[in-house]
């Protein structure tokens, strides 16, 4: 059986929704970061899927996906560094405590 575009989009949407839920609701900073990764992955799936089904002749989507992965990796590295720095400073890394910039 030949799988079409829609299942990929559905998968991406589910993953993105999970990631979004996690980003909005999780208190632990690490979980937050993981949720973001999830959303990035969902986007990547979309990119690759669209590339495969809509414009098979070019590799634009592929390239974007690779870029996104690179950026995500850098982002995770930076994010973890930030988390460690925050942890060192306040002995906790829950995102709800980080409200010093409150207006």
């Amino acid at each position: 059986m030949r799988v079409g575009l829609e299942p990929f989009l559905m998968l991406a949407a589910v993953l993105f929704s999970l990631g979004l839920y996690g980003a909005v609701s999780k208190k632990a900073t690490v979980q937050l970061l993981m949720s973001l990764e999830l959303m990035a992955v969902a986007v990547n799936i979309n990119l690759v899927a669209f590339s495969r089904f809509i414009t098979p002749a070019t590799l634009d989507g592929w390239f974007f996906a690779v870029f996104t992965m690179v950026v995500s990796a850098a982002e995770v590295g930076l994010g973890l560094a930030l988390i460690i720095a925050i942890y060192r400073r306040s002995r906790g890394s829950e995102v709800t405590g980080l409200s010093e910039l409150k207006g």
Binding site: L20, A23, V24, T96, L98, S99, E100, L101, K102, G103
Partner: protein, 640 residues
């Protein structure tokens, strides 16, 4: 004759120099003023010598140098001087009396700290009076006339720390100003008539004047002369003017300035002759003044005021001479009177210095202590009373003769009556001051500096009578000695006056109770005591209504004009207040309102900044969801 200008110019120069010196230096350079007057005296004698020998025609040497002051009606106003017999006489009288008074003042005023200012004003006065008699232009005469008025004002009010001199100076200034209005009026009339103020040309053109012009001009000139020469009813200032220093009174208010009115009328007599009615008015004014002045002199106790009223009376007699149309008689009496009246005033100064009072009732027995003053004042009194060999007799008889020649017998009678009064009040003064018991201590004779001028004046008084024929000839008339009946009549009148005076005040054995006689005189004496109610009448008829009017005007000013001005101001204040309110409420309100709005908005929006990361995320998420919803709905709707 160009050096004539030096006669008035030297005292004027002395004035200018003295005025600009500091006070201390000024007080030490009085010789400037005295010296200038002395040189003027010498020059006046020279001028007199130049015009001496002949009659009027030969004598009128005209010194003509026009200064162009300005242009009026296309013609330049030129001022010129002239020299004739009348001027020559006036020059000598003014400079002689002026020099005598200045030398006398050196001693009299030596204790005053503003001595220098006194001499400066005296110089200015001498200068202006000399210029007045030298001027051949009525405008220049008027200017000098006013300048003399100013000097008179300054000298009367010399002791301005005291109230009486202050008031007297204002009174003198304002009263003479009434007469000056007449002068101004006649100046306008004359200029309108012939377009010039040159006295020579004016007088030459008098016959060609229209009927009313001479009358109008003469009326104005008469009014001016009445003010300056203290004729009734404008005489009230002269007795009060005695508040000034005595030597200044001798020069200004006895000898010279008050005679300026007589001089003016004498100078312009052709105008008066062209208006016989005004000439008669001059005579009548003179007659009234002679009698009123004489009567009032009889009741004064202040030695200077007796002399002041006497001056008024004598000026009235001069006016009568002018009214009879005789310049010679009037000028002659003016000259003799100037000498003996200034002598009497200087004598009064010595007496006041010694007795430290001006009230005759507090004097007495001064004869033994001041022999020279005694003899000189006696000579002056006899001359004033018109006793035979002295100059006053001749000049007074010249006036009587002129009146008789003009068939004005009643006027001659008036002069006789005034002479009798003169003899009486001078006798009264003499006995009150020099005879009787001594009432004051430390009596002393005046200093030689004061006595020398008095002796000089007394000498002139004694011998001037002998020159009456020469004087008449000099002024262009054929004079003659008084006839024997006239001499007898005059002497009888003088003797009567002196006898009555002696009976009241001179008798040693009997002390006359003057109070009883005053009681007999009753209301008449009371009227004389009140100066015939002139001052009271002026006070209630002019001064008080005037003050009332000024108060009224002040009220009008306050309630009308001030109110209008204040109303406008109040209007502007109200307008400004409204503008300020507009500024505050609308403009400031707009600015502040914006600020408040931003602040409220900031405060409201601030609550969004929770600082919680996930709050923001949720916000973004909901915004995106809403956006998506919108897009989907839009697309759906569009699609549908």
């Amino acid at each position: 004759m160009n050096w004539l200008i030096a006669i008035p110019a030297l005292p004027a120069l002395a004035f200018v120099v003295l005025v600009f010196l500091p006070r201390a230096l000024r007080n030490r350079t009085l010789w400037l003023s005295v010296g200038a007057t002395c040189i003027s005296l010498a020059l006046a004698f020279m001028a007199f010598g130049r015009v001496w020998p002949g009659g009027n025609e030969l004598a009128s040497v005209r010194w003509d140098h026009p200064w162009v002051l300005g242009v009026m009606g296309g013609a330049p106003i030129s001022l010129s001087m002239q020299m004739d017999a009348i001027t020559a006489v006036m020059l000598v009288v003014i400079t002689f009396v002026g020099t005598a008074v200045q030398i006398y003042s050196l001693s009299y005023m030596s204790k005053d700290e503003r001595e220098g200012w006194y001499f400066a004003v005296l110089s200015l006065f001498t200068s202006s009076m000399l210029m007045l008699v030298l001027a051949d232009n009525l405008l220049l005469v008027f200017a000098m006339w006013e300048l003399m008025g100013l000097c008179s004002y300054l000298l009367i009010g010399f002791w301005y720390e005291l109230e009486a001199p202050r008031k007297a100076s204002q009174k003198a200034f304002l009263t003479t100003r009434v007469g000056d209005l007449g002068f101004l009026f006649s100046l306008l009339v004359i200029y309108r008539a012939i377009g010039t103020w040159d006295i020579t040309r004016v007088l030459a053109s008098v016959p060609s004047w229209g009927p009313g012009v001479a009358v109008a001009a003469a009326c104005g000139l008469l009014l001016a002369a009445m003010g300056k020469s203290a004729q009734v009813p404008l005489h009230v200032w002269l007795p009060d003017a005695m508040a000034g220093p005595t030597p200044a009174s001798a020069l200004i208010h006895a000898a010279t300035m008050v005679a300026a009115g007589v001089y003016l009328v004498a100078r312009t007599l052709p105008i008066f002759k062209a208006a016989p009615g005004v000439l008669m008015a001059t005579l009548i004014v003179g007659a009234i003044t002679a009698v009123v002045g004489g009567l009032l002199a009889c009741v004064q106790h202040d030695v200077k005021k007796v002399l002041a009223y006497s001056t008024i009376s004598q000026l009235g007699i001069m006016f009568m001479g002018l009214g009879a149309g005789s310049v010679v008689a009037a000028m002659y009496h003016l000259a003799t009177h100037a000498f003996f009246k200034s002598l009497l005033f200087l004598g009064a100064g010595v007496i006041i210095h010694a007795a430290h009072t001006q009230d005759m009732r507090e004097m007495g027995g001064l004869r033994k202590h001041m022999p020279i003053t005694w003899i000189t004042v006696l000579i002056g009194s006899l001359a004033l009373a018109g006793v035979v060999p002295f100059s006053g007799f001749f000049s007074k008889d010249a006036i009587i003769k002129a009146l008789l020649d003009a068939h004005l017998y009643w006027a001659a009678g008036v002069v006789f009556f005034a002479s009798g009064l003169t003899a009486f009040y001078m006798t009264r003064l003499y006995f009150r001051v020099f005879e009787g018991p001594e009432q004051t201590e430390h009596l002393h004779e005046g200093s030689p500096v004061m006595l020398t001028p008095m002796v000089a004046l007394a000498t002139v008084t004694v011998f001037l009578g002998a020159g009456s024929l020469a004087f008449a000839k000099f002024l262009g008339e054929q004079g003659e000695w008084p006839s024997v009946p006239l001499i007898l009549a005059s002497t009888a009148v003088a003797a009567t006056g002196i006898g009555v005076g002696w009976w009241f005040y001179g008798r040693r054995s009997v002390v006359v109770n003057t109070q009883a006689y005053k009681a007999i005189m009753g209301p008449f004496y009371a009227a004389l005591q009140q100066k015939l109610y002139f001052d009271i009448a002026y006070d209630s008829a002019i001064v008080k209504p005037y003050i009332a009017v000024t108060h009224l005007l002040a009220v009008v000013d306050r309630s009308g004009i001030d109110a209008a001005v204040n109303g406008v101001a109040a209007g502007w204040v109200a307008f400004a207040a409204a503008a300020a309110a507009f500024d505050r409420v609308v403009i400031d309100g707009a600015v502040n309102g914006l600020a408040t709005l931003s602040k409220r908005a900031g405060t409201a929006l601030r609550s969004l900044q929770t600082g919680r990361l996930q709050g923001y995320q949720r916000l973004v998420l909901s915004a995106v969801v809403l956006f998506m919803l919108y897009l989907v709905l839009y697309v759906v709707v569009k699609g549908a």
